[in-house]
Amino acid sequence: MTFFFQMLITGVVVGSIYALVALGFVLIYKASDALNFANGEFVLIGSYICLMLVTIYKIPFVIAFILTLVFNALLGMAVERVVLRPLINAPVISVIMATIGLSSLLAGVVHMIWGHQTKSFPPIFSSELIQFWGIIISPVYLWSFFIVLFLLGVFTIFFKKSKMGLAMRAVADDQMAALSMGISVKSVYAITWGIAALVAAVGGVLLGNINGVDASMATIGLTVLPVVILGGLDSIPGAIVGGFIIGILQSLSVGYLQPILGGGIKEVIPFIVVIIILMIKPYGLFGKGGIERV
């Protein structure tokens, strides 16, 4: 039973990071109907920048973290301006391929600058393990979990109360109507991409602290795709619930299915779940299907 809870807790922590990165996907999808395949690279860049600031320039972690967030937000806005803005009203496949191209381009830059070796963060959180009723938790996990919860709370309030948040929801709801009410759709797009990249950077720094930083981190961009599809592409609660479900399922499958079915099950299980869910609910658990007119 302890084993089960151990796996469960690992799943919850990883799931919370998934939820965070998935939030970035959903924001972009809601605002601009595009799926950002380069999100994994945003995560990667965020963690490398923070690592570089901490190890090479010896900046205290908290300041480095904030600088990373600023950098990534600017990067997100730049990407929106240069790559996505010209593709407004382009077919879905063009937008998908543009973000795929972007991910390849960013990955190329990252590999050219930082190479392929795994680098680890200097210990920032204490490495003393905490024990609850026989379940061992590392403080990094605990910190990640609370940071993620905090951020999810902040974003919920941001979307409910702040003027910008309301504007973003309005644009997501009906672009035309929002435009006619005097909302600048362009700036909403830019800020959406900025926030998505910023959120990805948080995910990147946390993941970097847990597993070390290397090029393979970008695969989280692919792992999070099932999360958003499971929750429904246009639903923020869906992203959060989906993140936890996928995280827990992955962790449990590593514990129980891997010995039977062989390696790699961790990467596959989310996609199997997605196929099943899509068969039953084509728009995910919380997603809204539109009405189609001919």
Binding site: Y29, L35, V83, P86, L87, A90, V92, I93, S94, I96, M97, A98, I100, G101, L102, S103, S104, L105, L106, A107, G108, V109, H111, M112, L222, L225, P226, I229, L233, L261, G262, G263, G264, I265, E267, V268, F271, I272, V274, I275, L278, M279, P282, Y283, G284, E292, V294
Partner: protein, 355 residues
């Protein structure tokens, strides 16, 4: 003989049959014939390395046409081509190596089995659209590769399988030239098939589904069967390409068919031109030769930057992404559009101006 490279000055069509014809006029037919003959003459003057590249291009052309039928013509985005190539390659490997069947039987079998699996993963396409479908095909990619990688008794697991070049009677396709001819013949046949497909009811139905599937359904097109059919036809061709590729490289492992391969094929049809057979050909050749060209460029750069080679793979990634974005932003019609613009310029020359 009339000069086949003289351009016609306009369209003069008096019947639907003429409008639907495979070749607009006899000159085009002769022109195509000359180009195909030239392609067959490549081995006479090219080195083995060039012929190898040409073979890879021919195989990529087959796969890209297959994918274009699904994504370009029917509008169903598929991010799972890599896995379908793998299914084709592995099927052929299993039939020829484990069961000792002849290549000539295992090649169509590879196509058929890929078609069945493709059709199976096409079933969700009835309810899924756009991004959701793209992710479903991505799921297909991940699941299929995982099954192949873990089904050790049949596929050899992580170590992969070894294949042989085909032979007929006493003649073996072992050397570069003969295998090039084989691939070229299949590529030409695929091209002709795809061009003809879109002159039939089935092909027209695919186009209708792409343009507006609800409207197509109202006009009496059975969405389910046509979508699944599109998946099956496309997968069949991709499976053939996979088998040819496997017998060319003579080894199949899971790593050869990663998601990167799927992305490359999507890039081929996008850079070439969605919904155009000729575009798929141009795109396939372009994307296949791009890394080679970059290799030469980096080799040249080593004169100035000694360790440029260590950056080669990252540089390729970078340029690949850059090319994709530049095409999408500046020329969404792809290479085929550029080609048509050039052609139109000369068609009206000297009256064509910049504006």
């Amino acid at each position: 003989m009339k000069n086949p490279f003289v351009m016609e000055s306009g369209n003069y069509k008096t019947s639907y049959t003429k409008d639907m014809a495979l070749y607009r006029n006899p000159r085009v037919k002769r022109r195509m014939l000359i180009i195909v003959i030239l392609l067959f003459l490549i081995p006479l003057f090219a080195s083995n390395y060039v012929i190898g590249l040409a073979t890879l291009c021919a195989i990529a052309v087959i796969g890209a046409i297959g994918l274009n039928i699904l994504t370009g013509f029917t509008g169903q985005i598929s991010v799972g081509v890599g896995a379908f190539l793998a299914v084709g390659g592995y099927t052929s490997a299993i039939f020829t190596t484990t069961y000792g069947l002849s290549f000539w039987i295992s090649l169509p079998l590879a196509g058929l089995i890929t078609a069945i699996i493709g059709g199976l993963f096409g079933i969700p396409s009835l309810r899924l659209k756009g991004l959701y479908l793209a992710i479903a095909t991505l799921a297909a990619q991940v699941i299929i590769l995982w099954v192949i990688g873990n089904w050790e008794s049949v596929t050899g697991g992580g170590s992969g399988m070894v294949l042989e070049r085909p032979s007929i009677g006493g003649f073996s396709f072992y050397d570069q030239n003969s295998y090039y001819y084989l691939c070229l013949v299949v590529a030409v046949l695929t091209t002709i098939y795809a061009l003809n497909l879109f002159r039939t009811r089935t092909g027209r139905a695919f186009l209708a589904v792409r343009d507006r599937d609800v409207a197509a359904q109202i006009m009496g097109i059975n969405l389910f069967s046509y979508k699944v059919m599109s998946f099956a036809i496309s997968s069949f061709i991709v499976g053939i390409a996979g088998a040819l590729l496997a017998h060319y490289t003579m080894i199949v492992t899971v790593e050869l068919y990663s998601i990167q391969v799927s992305i490359q094929y999507l890039a081929m049809i996008l850079v070439g031109g969605l919904g155009s057979v000729f575009g798929a050909i141009l795109g396939a050749v372009f994307i296949t030769l791009l890394p080679v060209g970059l290799g030469y460029m980096v080799e040249y750069l080593t004169m100035f930057i000694p360790d440029a080679y260590s950056l080669l793979s990252s540089f390729r990634e970078f340029v690949f992404g850059l090319v994709l974005i530049l095409f999408l932003v500046f020329e969404p019609g792809g290479l085929v559009n550029i080609w048509n613009n050039i052609k139109n310029y000369f068609k009206l020359w000297p009256f064509s101006t910049k504006e």
